[in-house]
């Protein structure tokens, strides 16, 4: 008996010697601050998903002369929440021809990775989780993991349409990732660093969209393909593959995929605003307000694009990506380099 207490107290004493007070304090602050910030971000993203879903349905409806949702809440504001609740209340079936564990884990990971990447993106000068010096690279590492996860989900769903859409998601990735990364290199070159704060700081007197118009257009198109917004929604091509990799997905997973869809839209428009429209800089409004206004403008432009353009065929996208986007992004890189040599911007 005695030896037990002795061993126990010696172990405790040893642990206490490891944790000095300030280290413990740092761990406590780090954990508390980030968990709290994480929760706030997730709530913020959910809020944005609801608002943005409603805005999209209303704007699309207005472009098509109809009313859009009007029943739930004032002007149908809570329609999306009602839809989400309805979907969550449904039974979650997994097709028996599907590979259970891969199928479930890939969808959950997609949501997790996306919310995680929200932590890296700063919302305004003051509000940020962690100021990585390589934030830009981290974001695009995460963003390029998504198509692979979608491939896994589509492939393991055991459905013929799912596997075709899985192949398409990989083929698509090849065509738009390269130009996007080249443009990021140009942005980093212009701002001398990968961290968002210095990128936004560098745009104080001239927005990067003005500095490199070609780069902006290429990045915008590539981001559209990344977000699977029409005219590039080839993975969930409704008219051909029913809904691609989502064909055999149970209702709760479909709700999470809808959230992923709109969250990715938020992330996409946030990146466009941060990299090319000078993030939260603006004359007299508070910083966060400027950021949100710009994000909304970009988002509404993306919605109008969705209402106008027809879906591009897969091989057309490949040809477009390699023949047009890649050379343009290289030209843009050279263009920025010359600007750097003449030292015009800084």
């Amino acid at each position: 008996m005695l030896t037990n207490e002795l061993a126990y107290s010696k172990a405790v004493a040893y642990i206490m010697s490891l944790l000095s007070w300030d280290k413990l304090n740092f761990i406590y602050n780090f954990v508390l601050a980030n968990i709290v910030y994480g929760v706030i971000v997730i709530i913020g993203v959910m809020l944005f998903v609801v608002i943005f879903g409603w805005v999209e349905r209303k704007v699309m409806a207005k472009a098509q002369f109809r009313h859009g949702p009007t029943k739930v809440g004032p002007y149908g504001f809570f329609q999306n929440i009602a839809d989400a609740l309805k979907l969550l209340s449904k039974e979650n079936f997994i097709p028996e021809s599907a590979d259970k564990y891969l199928f479930v884990s890939s969808i959950v990971f997609i949501l997790a990775i996306l919310l995680f990447s929200m932590l890296i993106v700063p919302f305004s000068g003051g509000i940020y989780a962690v100021d990585l010096s390589v934030a830009l690279l981290a974001i695009f590492v995460l963003l390029s993991v998504l198509p692979i996860l979608i491939f896994v989900a589509g492939w393991s769903s055991g459905n013929k349409f799912g596997s075709i859409s899985a192949q398409r998601s990989i083929i698509m990735m090849v065509s738009y990732e390269m130009p996007m990364l080249m443009v990021i290199a140009a942005v980093a070159l212009a701002a001398h660093s990968f961290s968002f704060f210095s990128i936004v700081g560098a745009q104080s007197n001239m927005y990067f969209a003005v500095l490199m118009p070609i780069g902006f257009v290429v990045f915008f198109i590539a981001m559209l393909a990344e977000l699977e917004r029409p005219p590039f929604d080839i993975r969930e091509a409704d008219s051909e593959l029913i809904s691609g990799w989502l064909t055999d997905v149970g209702a709760p997973f479909y709700a999470s995929v809808l959230i992923v869809d709109y969250a990715r839209m938020l992330l996409g428009s946030l990146l466009i605003v941060l990299l090319f429209f000078g993030g939260w800089q603006g004359p007299f409004l508070p910083k966060v307000a400027w950021l949100l206004i710009k994000v909304f403008i970009v988002a509404i432009f993306i919605i109008v694009l969705r209402a106008t353009y027809v879906r591009m065929r897969l091989d057309r996208l490949l040809r477009f990506g390699w023949l047009w986007l890649l050379p343009l992004s290289i030209i843009n890189l050279i263009w920025v380099y010359f600007f750097m040599v003449w030292g015009v911007i800084l």
């Binding site: 207005k62 472009a63 002369f65 109809r66 009313h67 009007t70 109008v304 106008t308 353009y309």
Partner: protein, 120 residues
């Protein structure tokens, strides 16, 4: 490349076209062919409507009227095509299709079979 975008934005600012049905009513022309109205008094129970109906939806059933039991048309709206052939064939045109749509929208299929009294 840009012209389609301009057309869409122009469409956004045009007025809406759809009607929110339960609240706003849609204007129907006066010769709209909706629910059948039967004038029990002038019906001479000749059965012309029952024979002309392409879908055989009208059946002559005996109903209690003030002048004793007479055979009157019973309409099964589940199969009715609203083609108004019965209205045209009826010799005393006691059978007319009106603009009334509400009675034909029911939740229970059995309510669609309307006896002559309900066709008033």
């Amino acid at each position: 490349m840009i012209k389609p975008l301009i057309t869409t934005t122009v469409q956004i600012f045009k007025s809406r076209f759809t009607v929110v049905y339960p609240e706003e009513e849609e204007k129907l022309p006066d010769n709209y062919r909706g629910k059948i109205r039967l004038d029990m008094k002038t019906c001479i129970s000749c059965g012309a409507c029952a024979r002309i109906c392409p879908n055989q939806t009208i059946d002559m059933v005996d109903t209690y009227t003030d002048k004793g039991i007479k055979k009157m048309p019973l309409v099964n709206f589940e199969r009715c095509l609203f083609c108004a052939m019965c209205e045209e064939v009826c010799p005393t045109n006691c059978l007319v299709l009106t603009k009334n749509l509400e009675d034909v929208e029911v939740y229970d299929r059995r309510d669609l079979i309307k006896r002559p009294e309900e066709l008033e």
